[in-house]
Assembly symmetry: C2
Homo-oligomer: 193 residues x 2
């Protein structure tokens, strides 16, 4: 029996994204963002939603660019810190000992020490309500070499991304392999006569 929980942002779990941007003086900033994901395959795009009150919002409006840094479980404290304090008060790179690197493609910084970064150029801005959604075209993805297999592809077994549970406001790691996409469901397809 299902119980009504009300109109709430109660998706089970979402990926935690760390957004990199520059302010008007070129100071790099990082922000934790749980409202985001992939929203188009061609062109490849990421959507992130930010409140107008955030430092990163103004930065992205200014530069029309951002990075999405993927942090692993060993940096969950830092990731949480990026969501607690504002870039107008702290240098979040410095406070966490992360080296800001300017993207060679878009006007936004990423963290040298972070395992993966996705560099994005804003192509749509949608006013929804408390949050504004930025759709960023993915211009490049960069991954640490230790994450790659012999063919140069990302070895999923080496990924350890952080998920956020909106209901309980907690962080979780990725769990076990459940199966191959576009394959394990084929056994359900009825045999045609």
């Amino acid at each position: 029996m299902k119980k009504s929980m009300g109109a709430k942002t109660l998706m089970a779990a979402v990926p935690l994204l760390i957004i990199g941007s520059y302010d008007q003086k070129g100071k790099p900033n990082l922000m934790a963002c749980a409202w985001g994901g992939i929203c188009c395959s061609a062109p490849p795009c990421i959507n992130i939603s930010l409140r107008k009150a955030t430092y990163s919002y103004s930065n992205i409006i200014l530069n029309k660019a951002f990075t999405v840094n993927i942090l692993f479980g060993d940096r969950v404290k830092e990731a949480d810190f990026y969501g607690i304090v504002s870039g107008c008060e702290y240098d979040k790179f410095e406070e966490t000992g992360i080296t800001p690197i300017k993207s060679d493609i878009v006007n936004a910084p990423f963290g040298l020490e972070f395992p993966m970064v996705i560099e994005c150029k804003v192509i749509h801005t949608i006013e929804i309500g408390l949050h504004t959604e930025f759709i960023g075209e993915i211009m490049d993805v960069k991954a640490e070499e230790y994450l790659l297999d012999k063919q140069g592809n990302i070895d999923t077994g080496k990924l350890n991304p952080i998920f956020y549970t909106p209901g309980s406001r907690e962080y979780y790691s990725m769990g076990n392999y459940l199966g191959k996409g576009f394959k394990i469901g084929k056994s359900i397809i009825p045999v045609k006569e």
Copy 2:
């Protein structure tokens, strides 16, 4: 050292969402969608991106409504099946033994046997490229009673959502608890003098 992977949809992992919709004859359909998440807190909104070629796309254009069903790891085969075949060829509820229930709030069906459902009304449609993004206002979230704690909130420990890794096209479960949001990062905040 980071290696360029190119402009690809290589986010580490994203939630797998199962979208419910009705066609013009009232036939209920389910579709797997990995391009989606939460995009606004107030009003609470979900974004999902679909290709125009899908049966669900036409259904959502028609009804301006959809449900987001959260499936757990025990139904990963069904979830994959919903992404492999089209609703124009199969009755995906029937083929997987799932009972379609009409939402009492929006004109879209959900699965009786699924643990959680989010009922959405389309408020924005954004043409991005291969995918169209629908932003749905969350009108209600319904969860099976066994998922709730004594206070009536969702017990995150009982959730077992499925994640999809776009790079390797695999499914994964949720892993271990890493910490409390807006709390564990506080230890990094410098003490002001």
